[in-house]
């Protein structure tokens, strides 16, 4: 049988390494904020002529000093992201692209002012904090405070890993990323609660059991459920990642990373943390009665 509590130092260490990498990356290179956060203009074009290269587009953009803009090919269309362009300038840029390269359809255009980006960052952070506080309150009411703290630490673990992953690979962070992180939080806490719920139940049933063994048993009883549920969610996310369009790609990627971190943290970290929070009477094993 797997010893989740006895070997918890190993699991902690593993998580700590990943978290340090995540935080390190966040400090070193930060996040690659999309135009939702930074403000800017996005143009997605599909040229009628096939075989257009990014170099051609860059050359055309040079006239406006925009050759350093991010350029990305998505199937048969191009996504250009620049600093925020005025309506007139955007029209100029589009006209130049048409005359220099050829006719195209404008599939998508987005322009976001800097105010929106600031607001989004503020609201996003606020949403995270409020959600976390509400969840601690709920868990404290339904369980007890120590469970709440352990759950929130596990949740932060998942959120940091997901954000760090996006920082490490410099994937773009946009509006849907906030939604992804919040859902990850929802899932993570859900996963953790299911195990805590089992511990709570076993605390009543197995009064003679040693606490470490009791927690181990609770985790084990839930192992199949944790894995099966995460697998089911992963099925949907992989389908969305592979078959879904450009817009949902990073959303599903973020979710996938978060859900993976969430399974790990709820099995290996959350209950172990709670176990460590339960005070020990000197020289004695931890009591079952809390």
């Amino acid at each position: 049988m797997m010893d989740f509590i006895g070997k918890r130092k190993i699991w902690y260490a593993l998580s700590l390494i990943v978290i340090l990498v995540a935080i390190g990356s966040l400090f070193m290179q930060g996040l690659n904020f999309g135009i939702d956060f930074r403000g800017g203009t996005l143009l997605q074009l599909k040229f009628e002529k096939a075989g257009i290269t990014g170099t051609e587009i860059r050359a055309a953009l040079e006239e406006f000093g925009l050759e350093k803009s991010s350029l990305q090919q998505s199937e048969d269309s191009f996504i250009i992201k620049t600093a925020e362009l005025s309506r007139e300038k955007q029209a100029d840029v589009l006209q130049t692209l048409e005359s220099k390269i050829g006719k195209f359809t404008l599939l998508r255009s987005e322009s976001v002012g800097p105010v929106i980006g600031d607001e989004l960052r503020r609201v996003g952070l606020l949403a995270l904090v409020i959600a976390a506080v509400l969840q601690i309150i709920y868990i404290t009411i339904r369980f007890e405070f120590r469970f709440g703290i352990a759950a929130i630490l596990a949740l932060m673990h998942d959120a940091i890993i997901t954000v760090g992953f996006f920082s490490l690979f410099q994937y773009e962070v946009d509006l849907t990323f906030i939604a992804a992180i919040l859902t990850v939080i929802g899932y993570s806490i859900n996963d953790t609660i299911v195990i805590f719920d089992r511990i709570r139940e076993n605390l009543k049933l197995m009064r003679k059991e040693e606490l470490a063994a009791l927690v181990n048993k609770s985790i084990k009883q839930n192992l199949v459920r944790s894995i099966n549920t995460s697998l089911s969610v992963a099925f949907v996310l992989v389908a969305l990642l592979v078959l879904g369009g450009e817009t949902t790609r990073y959303f599903s990627l973020a979710m996938l990373v978060g859900v993976t971190a969430g399974v790990y943290s709820s099995i290996f970290i959350a209950s172990a943390l709670w176990y460590d929070f339960v005070p020990t009477v000197k020289g004695q094993k931890k009591p079952v009665k809390i």
């Binding site: 997605q44 309506r87 599939l107 987005e110 949902t248």
Partner: protein, 411 residues
């Protein structure tokens, strides 16, 4: 009793599968799709300076007139926060000119050559394009409100008396300049005092269509305060359709994978899980239809994620059932025990997720809100199916005696 239960089970199965086939098309055709899925324009306007409620109401009215002139169906124009207005215009041919029209100030001013403002757009009662039957000249006819009429009469009378015409020589100062968005569009000479409150702007237009555009701008009025476009997004219809097709495909494959997995892993309960997933999807989509929710791309993602919650409810119940059976309980007792124990877990775990969704709903805007709505409704639906449907069918199955071998329940 046994026969009854078997009959009920058959009816339920037929109803769910039949319902899915029957509802597939109506749901697809009637679900309101967001701009990201069907194509359209979203514009967020920020009113500048100190803004009153009345100003915002007026801006919304003006925007409505402008958007209506584009001839689109179901535009959504609403206030956001204290000083913002959001416009959502679906299915539009030329997003660019729509955004330009929306962003137009339409600040109309009549000024003397000394720069004194005689009238503004607020004094305007009517603006109509027309063609002079005699000269064929295209013009925009203006009619002023009583207050404006009075001031216009005074100003014209004053100009005529102050700068009398000597012979053919027209005094420069006897002109009135008409500004639209700080650009002179006309500078007519005041030949006589105009007490009637009617004036013409002519000369600047090539076609009647040009005049119509100006008249429309004037009619839809001058904005009470300047507005700035702080955000605009437009999605072409092809990209939208593409997204719908791709998400549909992803949803189908994702669901299929889950259903096969559940069937293989849980056997008999797996069938119930699959039926509950179909029922759940119908329920969720039905509610979205009923409350006229708009389905956006993140909304689809929310739907798919809540499917995960529904599966989770099933898994929690069946895992418990398995345990209880292994502990030596009879099938019926195991179902009861499994249910009552799984239920608190389902409740606690779902409420915490619901909290996150609620926060998103209240703080988020636009598509994030849509995501929160589908996720929350999804969670509620999954709890509902778990406590009613799964429970009933499991019990009916046990009572019917169709499947007695507890191994088939995972024991």
């Amino acid at each position: 009793m046994r026969g009854e239960k078997i009959f009920a089970l058959i009816i339920i199965t037929v109803l769910i599968i039949g319902g899915a086939f029957w509802a597939a098309n109506p749901i697809q055709n009637n679900l309101k799709l967001g701009l990201d899925l069907k194509g359209g324009v979203m514009v967020r306007l920020q009113a500048q300076g100190a803004v009153t409620d009345r100003d915002i109401a007026q801006i919304i009215e003006i925007m409505r007139t402008r958007v209506d002139s584009l001839g689109v169906t179901e535009p959504v124009i609403q206030r956001e926060g204290k000083d913002r207005v959001v416009l959502e215009i679906p299915g539009i041919e030329d997003p660019d000119s729509a955004i330009n029209l929306i962003g137009k100030m339409a600040l109309l001013e009549f000024k003397t050559m000394d720069g004194e403002v005689i009238l503004t757009g607020k004094d305007l009662a009517e603006a109509q394009e027309a063609k002079d039957p005699q000269t064929g000249e295209v013009y925009v006819g203006l009619k002023f409100k009583p207050e404006g009429t009075k001031r216009f009469a005074e100003a014209t009378a004053r100009l005529v008396s102050m700068y009398p015409q000597v012979g053919e020589k027209r005094d420069e100062k006897r002109h009135i300049a008409i500004y639209l968005d700080e650009e002179i569009i006309q500078m007519p000479y005041v030949s006589e005092p105009i007490p009637s409150g009617e004036a013409r702007i002519s000369g600047g237009y090539e076609t009647l269509e040009d005049a119509r555009k100006i008249a429309l701008l004037l009619r839809s009025g001058a904005l009470p305060v300047p507005v700035e476009i702080i955000e605009n997004r437009s999605v072409g219809p092809t990209l939208g359709t593409d997204s719908v097709e791709k998400s549909k495909l992803a949803a189908l494959w994702g669901l299929a994978a889950i259903m096969i997995f559940m069937l293989l892993f849980y056997r008999v309960p797996g069938i119930i899980a699959d039926l509950s997933l179909v029922l759940y999807s119908l329920l969720l989509l039905g509610i979205l239809l009923a409350i006229k929710a708009t389905l956006t791309l993140p909304g689809i993602a929310g739907f798919l994620l809540s499917v995960g919650m529904c599966v989770d409810a099933n898994i929690l119940v069946y895992e418990r059932l398995k345990e209880e059976l292994r502990n030596g309980k009879s099938l019926r007792a195991a179902i009861d025990a499994g249910f009552s124990r799984a239920f608190t877990t389902i409740l606690d775990s779902n409420v915490t997720t619901l909290l996150a969704a609620a926060v998103l709903f209240f703080l988020g805007s636009g598509s994030i809100k849509g995501f929160a709505v589908t996720l929350s409704i999804g969670i509620l639906c999954s709890m509902l199916t778990a406590i009613t449907f799964i429970r009933y069918v499991l019990k009916a199955l046990a009572d019917s005696g169709l499947v007695k071998n507890t191994k088939l329940y995972g024991a």
